[in-house]
Amino acid sequence: MGKRIGASTRDLIITNLVAIVAGLVLSGFLLLFLDINPIQVYSSAIKTLFTDRYMAAEVFLKATPFIFTALAFAFTYKANLFNIGAQGQFYLGSVAAVSVSLLLDGKIPTAILLVVVFAATLLAGGLMGAGIGFLKARYNANEFLTSMMSTYVALAFMNYLLRTVLKETKGEYPQTDALSEAAWIPRIVPGTRLHLGFVIAVITAILIWVFLYKTPLGFRIRAIGSNARAGELAGINSRRIFVIAFLISGALAGAAGFTEVNGVQRMLIQDFNPDLGSAGIGIAILANANPIGIIFASILFGAISVIGTMMGRMPGINVPPSIVSIIQGSVMLFVIAAYYVRAMIGIRRDKKRLKREEA
């Protein structure tokens, strides 16, 4: 038995590595169409990643919101629900972050302010999530659709606020005033942009793991997710689980608003981080929806995005930015395929053993 677990962990690592490399190779191959030498750009970008502290820190900076949106998707996924509206919940979280920060900064100490802002983002995202969960619980509304549509509504709502009450005092552009330094999340590595939000994200991921696997409520969420009817017959109220799971999921996505607004952007502007939601889905899948795995998968996606950025800045080469989507999409696709390959390897191994025993 122990041996088999060893083998399957090895399969997991090897197949996923192969998948990631395959994604990079495929994307690199496309660079040849623009007469760009993929080996050269990859190696120089990766080298910078290991030598330039600022760029290395950027990887973790990028990973921070990914961790939150990936957790958001993974959390409902555990309850066999689909929250594909993390983008919208993130927007509402951002609106909450910027509003509360602007309202309170300078009035209360930074530490308290940040706690309040963090709570506000959890609440904003969480309420939106809970609304989707409620529609599912009460009206059996397909959460896949409602969460998808809700993102567009949240976006319109954010744009409305940016154009009206949240508009900068200068009144020129649909964006808010910049937050004062008192509302910034402290940086943790001097000379880089990396801020405490990353640590918060990692801790959150660990807490979510503990919650899912070690607490009764987490257990009930997984139970409903694995076999809703059996869970219900065991006395678990699945409707309540829908609402709770979506509430937490939404809160997690909202938290990304906190790290992005108070940690990175320090203001809210239109068309802000438009790909966090879909990247979160990819990362969650890459990590098999495991909260701890999400930390690493997010760092990988952070690295892909930083590598893409660096490749786009190489003087005289300027790899087109679309390469980032291509790398992300193909890595995701290969990782998905790796699930199948692993299952096949497992079956084949079992069968071989069986035939050997039989003979």
Partner: protein
């Protein structure tokens, strides 16, 4: 348009076929012959590999080794389409019907090409049905039909494709004895027309009744290939099981001297639209007593269990357990009160295959303070309790952390029973607890039921297996269309009586018995 069929072979030989699933050898070196004009019975315990070998013949699975020969000529059957070309039809163990479609649509599925002449197809379906005396409405939605009728739809489906070899995988499992007799009649008639039938079952009686030849399987291998005239039930049983089984002994119920009053159900009714799912049911189940409920499945047994457990609400009547009115309690509160329930479909209703044994035990205790510590699951304690269950119930499993889905059906059932026994302080409800299990597991579960009874627990036992009902029950009720046909002492009943009652007919010689018994029950 219809497909051409070339079903004029006279024998099929299955030669040295082996089939490996990832962790199971389903078939190993299987050899036998199927002949036209013969009923071949395939007998074996659960997991013996009966379905698998026939699915290989039907093209649903591919054999890892071996070959299939038609009149000595090897042929490849890559999919059911190939099988159909040879006139092979198969009725699956679990029906393969589309519930949302009509009978006609189900019958013609895969049998016609191009634009479908619905009116003509319907006529054909009706004429086939009447030829074999089946009462089936061609326009009905299959999902609305009784299982017995669904069975007939499956047969018509096969006949429509001009089947010359009909494989029936445990066809009687859901039928009343009378319906089963009708089916046997059909089988004889069909074979008399020069066709062949393979009849899969684990019921010895049916084998002796209908088979010409019997193949016995055990652990994926052939353990016997016999003519019916040359064998008997004892020999078959030995070939099938390979070891001796001692049935648990049972003492007669002597009334209870417990202070608790048990379960009192009065005038319980539940309707869905115009259909009465439960029709004025009353009984009193005393502590330490087993009340067996016989009947064809789908006659309200599941609804009865579920209303008592709180999974569904009922329309009128009352359910009182030890003086507590259950209708005021939620499902969860009833579990906390000590109502244990083993539902009929364990995969759907009772366990979570992807979770571990321990988590499956915990499933019904997640709100119980004794199982949690400081807001977290008390894992040490849970592990301990799971090990106890494994020990006490003889669950064959790698350990408490193995996924429950990897256990065999019997062991899964023992796991569930161990959990329900743990929580059943006041009442245990069992809905077909041994369905599809092999004799070893059945025996184990029967012992557990009798132990619960001895400990003074009231036990409501639902089963379609009459032998089980008779072996365990202190009293027997027969359910038909949501109604109790009466509550009887096992001594008052014989199989023929019960068969008629299950079909909704009160036998002339016992109508007064039934009436008295019911009246006596209403407290």
């Amino acid at each position: 348009m219809r497909e051409e069929i070339k079903g004029n072979w006279s024998e099929i030989e299955i030669r040295n076929v082996s089939k490996y699933f990832a962790r199971v050898v389903a078939n190993k070196d299987v050899n036998f012959t199927i002949r036209k004009g013969e009923v071949l019975a395939l007998l074996g315990e659960n997991g013996a590999g009966k379905s698998t070998i026939m699915k290989i013949l039907y093209g649903l699975y591919q054999a890892d080794e071996g070959s299939i020969l038609f009149d000595g000529k090897e042929e490849r059957i890559a999919n059911p389409k190939d099988a159909m070309k040879f006139g092979i039809g198969m009725i699956q163990q679990h029906f393969s019907l589309v519930y949302a479609h009509t009978v006609t649509e189900n019958v013609i599925l895969g049998a016609m090409r191009g634009v479908i002449p619905y009116a003509k197809a319907k006529e054909e379906v009706e004429s086939l049905a009447s030829r074999y005396g089946f009462d089936v409405d061609a326009d009905a939605l299959v999902g609305d039909l009784d299982v017995g009728v669904q069975q007939k739809v499956e047969i018509i489906k096969a006949l429509f494709k001009q089947t010359t070899l009909l494989i029936m995988d445990e066809p009687t499992a859901v039928l009343t004895p009378q319906e089963a007799d009708q089916l046997m009649e059909f089988v004889r008639q069909f074979v008399a027309d020069g066709h062949a039938v393979v009849f899969i079952t684990h019921k010895m009686k049916e084998v002796m009744e209908v088979a010409d030849r019997i193949i016995v399987m055990r652990d994926g291998r052939i353990s016997g290939d016999l003519r019916k005239e040359d064998t008997n039930e004892a020999e078959l049983s030995r070939l099938m099981i390979g070891r001796d089984i001692v049935a648990p002994a049972k003492v007669d119920f002597e009334g209870s001297d417990h202070e608790r009053s048990g379960l009192v159900v009065k005038n319980l009714s539940l309707a869905q639209g115009k259909v009465k799912l439960l029709d004025d049911i009353s009984f009193h189940l005393r502590p330490g007593e087993v009340l067996g409920i016989a009947g064809v499945s789908g006659n309200g047994q599941e609804e009865l269990c579920e209303t008592i457990c709180g999974i569904r609400a009922f329309d009128s009547g009352s359910v009182v357990l030890d003086g507590v009115d259950l209708s005021e309690l939620s499902l969860r509160e009833r579990i906390e009160q000590g109502v244990g329930y083993v539902p009929v479909d364990r995969h759907r209703d009772a366990m979570i295959g992807s979770m571990s044994l321990a988590e499956n035990i915990y499933l019904k205790f997640s709100t119980d303070g004794d199982w949690n510590r400081r807001g977290l699951i008390d894992t040490n304690n849970l592990r301990q309790k799971t090990l106890e269950s494994i020990e006490d119930f003889d669950i064959r499993a790698p350990g408490p952390d193995a996924p429950a889905g990897n256990l065999s059906g019997g062991n899964q059932q023992k796991l569930i029973l161990s959990r329900e026994m743990r929580l059943a302080k006041k009442l245990l409800i069992l809905n077909q607890p041994t369905r599809g299990l092999d004799l070893g597991a059945i025996n184990n579960i029967h012992s557990t039921v009798l132990k619960a009874r001895a400990e003074g627990l009231p036990v409501l036992l639902i089963s379609t297996e009459l032998s089980e009902i008779f072996a365990l029950s202190d009293r027997i009720a027969v359910m038909y269309k949501g109604r109790f046909m009466g509550i009887f002492s096992p001594r008052e009943l014989n199989t023929e009586h019960i068969g008629l009652l299950m079909a909704g007919i009160v036998p002339d010689d016992m109508s007064h018995v039934a009436g008295e018994e019911i009246r006596a029950e209403v407290v």
